[in-house]
Amino acid sequence: MKLQLNIKDALFTIITLLLLLFLNIWMQDMFDTKTLIPMIFVLGVFLISLKTQGYFWGITASLLSVLAVNYAFTYPYYAFDLISPECVASALVMLIVAILTGTLTTQIKHQEKIKAETEKEHMRANLLRAVSHDLRTPLTTIYGSCSAVMENYDSLSKEQQLKLLGEMQKDSEWLIRMVENLLSVTRIDDGKVQLTKSPTVLEELIDAVLIKFRKRCPNQTVEVEIPEEFISIPMDAMLIEQVLINILENAVDHATGMTELKLSVTTKDSFALFCISDNGCGISADRIDKIFTGYFDRDTSPADGSRSNMGIGLTVCAAIIKAHGGEIHAYNNSSGGASFSFSLKLES
């Protein structure tokens, strides 16, 4: 990598200098003056210092420029005269330009890096704040209900106790899902961790998703439409399973008035297109643009302490699909309700 960069820089330096040299020779003939020549070389040194890594090429270019001016454009022509004070002075000027430009560029590059890191940190801080907030609510319920049952074991009726325990169970389940999502997103976020893609049979994937989904939402039926033929898609099955479950659950949680939930897969060219659509209330216009990034962008948590509406789930979906090299979209159906669709590349 480093060697490649250096070769690129060297080529850039040589080509720029040669171009300027010819430009100078041409200008000398055109305008019959030499005042422009050093200026053009200074420009060259500046450009080279700006575009190359470190100081090396800038300094090399400045020395070469001095030599070129000295050799070709000052008396005696086409011979070196390196001891004249004029030559030493112009060499110094060129060197200073090269070094100063180099320093400036390095500084700018450094600052850009810091800025990018700050942004990433900011995003992480947002995520952490949002997550901590979201975790606090169910934890409060669990802790409070536990204490209530334990401290009032004899005075609470059996029904009351069961109700409290049931709420604890529900909130724990929510926490489990939250942690699963966080684990997925950190797995991808590292960047280093490669997805463990293996050929997955579409039918088996859908089967696993439906069984898991039924466990969580036993009252919601899902209408499934997949191609009859054998389809195998390379994917990290655990993560794609999570994407499908997140989208299905999102529909159950947010598509008010939904009576039908449909999961269909079609193949087109070398892609499999997954589509989950409902006939609920649809997605409001102000939400639809940020639906996959909302969790990170959220600067403030909802003041009423309610669960994050468009929770972390969809953000995780987008990250997983992106890591698979696919695309995910959300849109409102013309016939009412919302659809989520994403594509995955089929086995080649």
């Binding site: 724990s172 489990i176 684990l183 463990t196 293996s198 050929p199 997955t200 049979v201 039918e203 088996e204 994937l205 859908i206 089967d207 696993a208 998703v209 439906l210 069984i211 039924r214 899902v222 499934v224 997949i226 054998f230 195998s232 099955a237 655990m238 399973e241």
Partner: protein, 236 residues
Amino acid sequence: MNNNRYKILVIEDENNIRSFAKAILEANDYQVLTAETCGNGIMMFSSHRPDLVLLDLGLPDKDGLEFIRFLRDRQEVVPILVLSARTNEADKIEALDLGANDYITKPFGTGELLARVRAALRVSRYNGSMLASDGKFTLHDLVIDYDRRIITIAGEEIKLTQTEYNILVLLARHTGKVLTYATIIREVWGPSDDGGVKKLQVNMANLRKKLGEKPGDNRYIINELGVGYRICEETH
């Protein structure tokens, strides 16, 4: 209390998980022994001869996989049910290939735990085969007649290819046990076959279609995504 209760050894270092597993199992009339470490578990196993082992993989002294290896090296056939916080398929596959019967991923609910325990114990009761005295295997309305090599569902014969029949019989012989892709390929096609998982997946897709199974509604063969397949009496 009857003395013929099944004995279950729970090897788990987390105090809370141990105590809640013990509570559920005892409430369902199992006798429960516990161990916190792998070494302790081996000792308990040797002196009490439990009917089933619930094994955590992340133990403080040794990896739980060592326990499986230790038992299977000594030809012990006791069913082992792995409790694992790891969601990575590779770990599950390793445990299964070493001889674990099944796995259950933390966090799990009581219903799930009990279903797996029942399934694993049923296998050991039949001593690894559900072969009834008349040479037939029955699962719901599916019957495998080993002598005549015929499969019927609700009395109706299902035509299977040789390979499909072999896969079904292999799974039936190990009812309740998850068989990994590698195991099935080795048993059905032989150790030298390099046809790979795809051949198995295609055959399995055809087999399931012939058995009339639909995604999300499998009555006979349960698919463990990325790991393998199993036949289970209880669908969950």
